[in-house]
């Protein structure tokens, strides 16, 4: 199907790739179908979560494990059940990114990741029951911190 999008103009959506978000996502509860797109660079940790019902709605998303190496989450029961997750290999985890005017200040939402079962194309945004992760985690700062840590392993900074 053809979809007029905000970031890509008119594109052809492969309908077999459409992910069903039964409850939408908070703030956009009525929009339930998304696809994951990339900007031609598969090695980038960033993707677009493009809504199919409203071409103007798209979120920049990121693979949080590629930014925060020790990101460690337990997939909540409501997702395991709601998405019929059988194997962890089927699960894709994405963090929604806020990109402000000053790109260096972009943040990712680690507290409420998007969980997708790639086996049956069902997805939902969950809220983790932990205080370890915030809804606004600075991405550029995090990457710098990891670089510093990699450069000086003996000097491990406590979080």
């Amino acid at each position: 199907m053809l979809l007029k999008t905000k970031h890509f103009g008119e594109i052809n959506i492969d309908e077999t790739k459409i992910i069903d978000f039964k409850d939408g996502i908070p703030g956009f509860e009525n929009l339930k179908r998304y696809v994951v797109l990339y900007d031609g660079d598969e090695t980038s940790p960033f993707r677009w979560l493009q809504n199919v019902d409203d071409g103007q709605l798209a979120f920049a998303v990121v693979n949080p494990f590629l930014i925060l190496k020790d990101y460690d989450i337990e997939i909540p029961g409501e997702a395991v059940e709601g998405l019929d997750i059988e194997k962890i290999e089927d699960v894709m985890v994405l963090s929604i990114v806020v990109v402000p005017e000053d790109i260096s200040k972009m943040t990712m939402n680690l507290k409420a990741p998007v969980i997708i079962n790639t086996k049956n194309n069902k997805g939902m945004q969950v809220v983790l029951d932990t205080d370890r992760y915030s809804v606004r985690h600075y991405i550029v700062e995090e990457l710098r911190r990891q670089e510093v840590n990699a450069g000086a392993c003996s000097d491990k900074k406590e979080k």
Partner: protein
């Protein structure tokens, strides 16, 4: 809004499968126990509103080239 008065250890049942129990009352604070199917999402409202607001901010993303984000 439906308002019911309950005492400590009393419950209400919603829709046959959700049970909400008043576990404890201490002055201004009420502890609430919830028994519900795993598929039911339960959030503290202020956190839910925060996620909603964050999603709305994220949706305002301008036309950026993702490839440029980490340069």
């Amino acid at each position: 809004m439906l308002v019911l008065t309950r005492k400590k250890n009393e419950s209400i049942i919603i829709n046959d499968n959700i049970e909400i129990t008043i576990v404890d009352v201490q002055g201004e604070q009420v502890r609430i126990g919830i028994n519900a199917p795993k598929s039911v999402s339960i959030y503290r409202k202020e956190i839910f509103l925060e996620i909603q607001a964050e999603n709305k901010k994220a949706a305002e993303v301008k036309n950026v080239d993702l490839k440029d984000l980490l340069k």
